[in-house]
Structure formats: C-alpha cells, structure tokens
C-alpha cells in the first residue's frame, strides 16, 4: 500500500473495520513509514481526547418520566378513541374483534418470521465462511490470541475456549453480522467438519428455537446469562450437542469467563 491509500483507510483501520487483508497491509505499512505511523498515533490520540473529555450529553432525569407519561397518554387515546364519530361507534366492537384476531395471527407468525430469518442468516454466514475462503480473520488455536482480537471490534468480550483435547480444536475467529447485529464467530473443527459458533450479547429469543436443520445444516441455539449462542455445522445433532456440553461446562463453571 502507498501512503495515500493508507491515509484513506487509516480511520477505518483504527475502528477495526477493514478486511483482514487490508488490516495486515496497513499494519505493515505503518511499521515502516514514519509519516503514516505519526498519523496513526494522532488518530488514536484524537479518539482518546474525545472519550476522556466527558462530553456525552445524557438525557435529563425528568425526560424519562415525561416520556412514560406521554406514551401512556397516547395509549389511552388509542384505547378510547375519543374523537371517533358516534355513527361509527357501533362498528367499534367488530373492529376491535378484528384487531384482536389480527394481532393473535400476527403473534403466531411474527416469531416464525424472525426465527426463519435468524436460521437463514446463520446458514448463509456459515456457507459463506466455507466458500469465500474467509473462515477466520484471526487464525489460531490459542484462545489467548483469539479472545483479545475481538477487543475493539465488538462491544462485548465473548468466551473463547479451545477443545483440542476433547476432539474439537479451535481454528480461529472472525467478525460476523447476523441480521445486521455484530457477532463473534468462532470456528471449530471436529474430524472433517467445520463448526461455526456465533456468540452475541443479550440473550435473544433464540433459546426458544429448537434444534433445526436448515439447508442441510444442523443448527442449535442456546443462552446463558450473558450471551446467546448458535452453533451450526454439517455434523450430526449428537456431536453438535456434545460440543455444546463442552462449552457449557466451561462457561458455567467460570461465570466470569466473559471478562478478561
């Protein structure tokens, strides 16, 4: 890379938003170029200055209360419909019934939709990782190499463990987006099979999703108190469940594993 190319992507570099190839190239360049390395340090410095200057404008305490009141007001308005003309009043019960049926139908279907969407995004992330030769951004079986790599790339610190002893060696990790949310993707191998383990913060609704087969791939989802996990592979269900058991064993024994 030349200096002006580096210059154009330096800002994305410090945000961890470049591909692994580009990251590597910028890395090499700033190690050998005094000017760009100075720019790099200045950008880091700028970030620190902003972060340490305490300029975040938090919402005033009364705003939350006001908002709650406004929402309640809004809700009452929609419940009573004070402005509705009397001649429509008779059709109101029918309308309400319709709404209730509609809502019941929606609540039946909505979870399915988001469930399908999730399974689909898991499967496509998995397939993509196998096809595009982009299995890992950081390739290492050392959990102490993989875990720190996620710092600054994610706003949470996923638990990373190697299970080579147990027949599920850690291959590496990468950053993934599932339905537009960042996730830590950890790659494991069992015999010839690749397992993608996706970790996201805040237990999602995924725990309710039963083990599923999507496009021929086996998917299981589960939660613990800090994260939601999805494992996907062409392994059979029992081998995949064994993998989950290994992981659960680690994470539940050390609840602080999420922190460094």
């Amino acid at each position: 890379m030349k200096c002006d190319e580096v210059n154009a992507v330096l800002s994305a570099y410090i945000d961890g938003e470049l591909s692994s190839v580009q990251t590597q190239q910028v890395n090499e360049h700033i190690q050998s170029c005094a000017d760009c390395s100075k720019d790099y340090r200045a950008l880091i410095q700028l970030g620190n200055t902003i972060k340490s200057s305490n300029i975040y404008a938090s919402a005033p305490a009364h705003l939350k209360k006001q908002l709650s009141d406004k929402l309640r007001e809004n809700e009452n308005r929609t419940l009573y419909w004070p402005g509705i003309p009397a001649r429509f009043a008779y059709s109101l019960p029918a309308l309400l019934l319709g709404l209730i049926i509609g809502w019941a139908a929606m609540s039946q279907f909505k979870p399915r939709d988001s469930e399908d969407e999730l399974l689909q995004s898991l499967a496509s992330a998995h397939i993509h990782s196998l096809m595009a030769n982009h299995l890992t951004d950081v390739a290492s079986s050392d959990s102490h190499t993989v875990k720190p790599w996620f710092h600054g790339r994610l706003d949470f610190s996923p638990p990373v463990h190697d299970f080579t002893q147990q027949g599920y060696p850690l291959i590496g990790g990468r950053l993934e987006y599932l339905a537009e949310n960042p996730a830590a993707a950890l790659v494991y191998r069992h015999s010839q099979h690749t397992i993608n383990l996706f970790i996201q913060p805040e237990p999602a609704q995924t725990s309710s999703i039963k083990p599923a087969v999507y496009n021929g791939y086996q998917i299981i989802n589960w939660n613990d108190e800090s994260f939601s996990y999805s494992a996907i592979s062409d392994l059979n269900l029992s081998d995949l469940k064994r993998f989950r058991a290994l992981l659960n064993n680690k994470t539940s024994r050390k609840p602080e594993a999420a922190k460094d």
């Binding site: 154009a8 992507v9 330096l10 800002s11 994305a12 945000d15 938003e17 200045a42 950008l43 410095q45 700028l46 970030g47 620190n48 200055t49 902003i50 972060k51 340490s52 200057s53 305490n54 300029i55 975040y56 404008a57 938090s58 919402a59 005033p60 705003l63 939350k64 006001q66 908002l67 709650s68 406004k70 929402l71 309640r72 809004n74 809700e75 929609t78 419940l79 709404l99 209730i100 809502w103 909505k110 939709d113 988001s114 706003d155 987006y177 339905a179 537009e180 949310n181 960042p182 999602a204």
Partner: protein, 182 residues
C-alpha cells in the same frame, strides 16, 4: 391488555437508548431544550410505528427515527442545518478552519472555554452536520460502520470516508488539546 403490553414492551426495548437518542439530538439541533422535544417526538413516532418493528437492532432503529425527527424539526423551525458553522469554512479550505469563528478567539471566549471538555464539545459542534453526526455515532456511541450506515441511510464506504474527513477536521481543531496531553 394489548395496549399495556405493547407500551411495556416498547419501554423495555427503547428506554435503554434514551441517552443515545438525546445525545444525538443534542448535538444535531444544538440546544438542550429542543433536544428534549425532539426525543419525545421521536419516541412517540417510534411507538406508533412499533407494530411494524421487525428490526433486531433497537438502538439503530431508534437513532434513525431520532435523526429524522431532528432534521424535520430543524426544517420546520427554519434552523440552518449547519448551525454554528459559517459558509467560509463550509466551502472547504481546511486552513481557514483555524482562523474561523469555530475556535474561540477573544480572551473572554478563550477563558470561557479553556477546559478540554468545552474545547472538544465546541470542535464537534463546529463540524458540518453530516460530519458531526458520523463523529457522534462513532466516537460517542461506538456504533459499527454498518450500524451508522443504517442510521444515516448511506453505504459503508461513505461512512468510512465521511468519518475520515470528520476526524481530519477534528484533529486540526483539537491540535492544541492533543498537544497538551502528549
């Protein structure tokens, strides 16, 4: 029944983002008083649209609505979208930044804003709005480029180049502050 659950669900999802929404509104519209109104308006809009909410990223969703509310608010109140930012600077020459009104010049102004906090705040406020919003979302909210792209409705590449330019300006504006820290 439904109404009550809906409100509870809504508050559970979006109340945690109240600070983020307010912070964005505060920096976009430029004053605390309007920011409160804008955030309230945004949350009511979001509440009305909540039935259609399928997005999983609640923060990006509420920030998108907040930003739109800011823009329509400013348009409605005939506020200049480049508040506290004069044309000369806007026209591009980065060197004029240093001599512009973006930086406190008179002794009073300097005394008033000699704390780092005020200098940084002032520097961010002096950015044109399209740079300001990208800087807020990245530096203060720490959103990913993809999330910023969602909120602003622009591709990731544009996020990258805008943020790079915003930072370039901030570096110049805050050169002295950085110097002191070194």
């Amino acid at each position: 029944m439904f109404g009550k659950n809906k409100r509870k669900q809504f508050e559970k999802l979006f109340q945690p983002h109240l600070d983020a929404a307010y912070n964005l509104a505060r920096y976009l519209c430029g004053n605390a008083y309007d920011a409160e109104d804008i955030v309230q308006e945004a949350y009511l809009r979001a509440y009305r649209a909540f039935d259609d909410y399928t997005n999983d990223n609640s923060r990006a969703w509420i920030l998108t609505i907040t930003r739109n509310s800011c823009y329509s608010w400013m348009r409605r109140h005939n506020m200049n979208l480049n508040v506290s930012f004069d044309e000369e600077v806007n026209s591009g020459d980065i060197d004029t930044l240093l001599s512009s009104s973006a930086i406190p010049q008179s002794p009073e102004q300097i005394a008033e804003s000699n704390s780092k906090q005020q200098l940084v705040r002032q520097a961010i406020k002096s950015l044109p709005i399209e740079f300001r919003e990208v800087a807020i979302l990245r530096e203060l909210e720490e959103l990913s480029y993809q999330e910023i792209g969602l909120v602003l409705g622009i591709p990731n590449g544009t996020v990258m180049s805008r943020l790079a330019r915003a930072r370039k300006r901030l570096r110049i504006l805050l050169a002295n502050v950085n110097e002191q820290e070194r």
